[in-house]
């Protein structure tokens, strides 16, 4: 199982919705697809799911070309479109049966559906009409129809939008579990979600790929500057701190509280500890400020 995207572009009129994107994903990776609204996330996913063809470039999904082997691609993926469209007047089982038949499955459909209903946690609702379900359960049905053919690649377009915090936790856990044996590409604009779920992040902005890294690398690469807030027991000279190795800037916040920036977090904390003991001072508070993905996202997409 693999997804290899090569120079994928989609042009609407004069607007380049997706502009020459390339990346590849291998076994069992959960890939977070990040970008502001209108960045081209959905368009890219629609192309990978063979709903619309690219203007130029191509992609191989499980080794099948999305243009030449479109049916084979669609057979080997599960796709949850944005806004989770469903037939509201169908019953849960009826709908999953339809999805199974649409994939050309014939044998053991009933057993497959039962397994899936258990896996995805919709047992208490399995006899209801889809339209009467809560949003969280609808989302699960959407996931279930994407999983019915046991796809190797799962493409989920904003699977968590509009869910309450409890449902969010459940769906994320489900995605993490599924990600152990599948490639999952999923888009979102919630940063914490990416931190919580993904092994790897791709950020796109205005159709262009602006970052493609593992979570850790991304943090280091884009910032490379640790930020520490420290409060001393006794007053210190700001000059003394500035002279420490690796410190690039010191800002006096209030009282004995300082904000210090420097290259590497651990080194910086060590230096500060020695500094404190040399001066017979003491530390009342020290914390490294976690420069969250949100900052990175902001930096990359606001240019």
């Amino acid at each position: 199982m693999s997804v290899v995207v090569n120079g994928l572009s989609k042009v609407y009129g004069v607007q380049r919705a997706v502009d020459n994107i390339s990346f590849s994903v291998e076994n069992g990776q959960i890939l977070g697809f990040l970008g502001p609204n209108g960045a081209g996330k959905s368009t890219t996913m629609k192309m990978l799911a063979c709903f619309i063809p690219p203007t130029s470039g191509t992609a191989l999904v499980n080794g099948f070309d999305i243009l030449q082997k479109s049916i084979e691609v669609r057979n080997s993926i599960g796709y949850l479109p944005e806004n989770n469209p469903l037939y509201y007047d169908m019953y849960v089982r009826e709908y999953l049966e339809f999805a199974a038949r649409a994939f050309g499955l014939k044998k053991n459909i009933d057993r497959k559906i039962d397994d899936l209903i258990g896996l995805i946690g919709i047992t208490p609702e399995k006899h209801k009409k889809i339209g009467t379900l809560s949003k969280g359960y609808k989302q699960r049905i959407g996931l279930a129809q994407a999983l019915i053919n046991d796809p190797k690649v799962l493409i989920l377009d904003e699977p968590t939008s509009g869910l309450d915090p409890n449902q969010l936790v459940d769906i994320r856990q489900l995605i993490r579990d599924l990600g152990k044996e599948k490639i999952i590409i999923f888009s979102t604009h919630i940063m914490q979600e990416v931190q919580a779920v993904c092994d790897r992040v791709i950020i796109i902005n205005k159709g262009k790929l602006v970052a493609d890294d593992s979570m850790e690398q991304l943090k280091n690469k884009t910032l490379g500057q640790a930020q520490i807030e420290i409060e001393f027991l006794h007053p210190v000279e700001i000059i003394d701190i500035q002279q420490l190795e690796g410190v690039s800037s010191v800002v006096h916040v209030s009282g004995n509280l300082y904000r210090i920036e420097g290259g590497d977090g651990i080194e910086l904390r060590k230096k500060l500890a020695w500094f404190v003991s040399e001066k017979s001072n003491a530390v009342t508070l020290m914390k490294e400020i976690d420069r969250s993905l949100e900052d990175i996202f902001h930096n990359l997409t606001q240019r």
Binding site: K46, A49, C50, F51, I52, P53, I71, E72, R74, N75, I77, Y79, P81, E82, N83, P85, L86, Y87, Y88, D89, M90, E94, F98, A99, R101, A102, F103, G104, Q145
Partner: protein, 242 residues
Amino acid sequence: MWSIFRKEVNGFFSSLIGYISMIVFFLVLGLNLWVFPGNIFDSLYATLESFFATAPWILMFLIPAITMRTLSDEFKSGTFELLATKPISDYSIVLGKFFACLFLWLVTWLPTLLYFVCIKSLNMPGAVMDGGATWGSYIGLFLLGAIFISIGIFASSVTNNQITSFLLGVVLCYLVYDAFFQISNLPVFSGRMDYFIQSLGIGSHYEAISRGVVDTRDLLYFFTVIAFFTIATNTVLEGRKW
């Protein structure tokens, strides 16, 4: 294709759409044929001509009402994206929906054969009923319904609004059924183009079959029109890829 067919047929009969459209069809045509003034008992002729003359005008409204949601609804609710990303070709989607509507039409059409049985049994002893014409008319009516279905689905494919789809369907059905005949009657065309223009419409072929002569040219006409609108629908669906 059959997965779509099943879904649609289930949809017709698990909601009221299927039953209501059947009831409307029987009610209007049944009243017209058996009850209302000018009915078959008043005419004293053992013929279903009035039934076959009225039915197209009912179908012209009834069938677009059945087909109006087939694709419009999928576009509006976004479920078309689900269908199109399953390993099903666009043709299978169109044909699945076409055959599902055709199936509903078949089960609406079949019971009207009882009318023939009724009239035959009410016939004066020894009198002969024109069986050929009646059978021809039944076949013609079924094919007429099939054409209207292909037109209705086409109308449904060009818009995500069901009302627009319905109105467009009615207009197209009328155009294909009657307008060519009316146009051919314009004085400009008389004696030159009128026969050709008439033969473009369904009307002349429907009448030809109704006389009991099932000519391959007429059959070919019906299948050509169905194919034309099915291909047109598919082209509209493919349009998203341009």
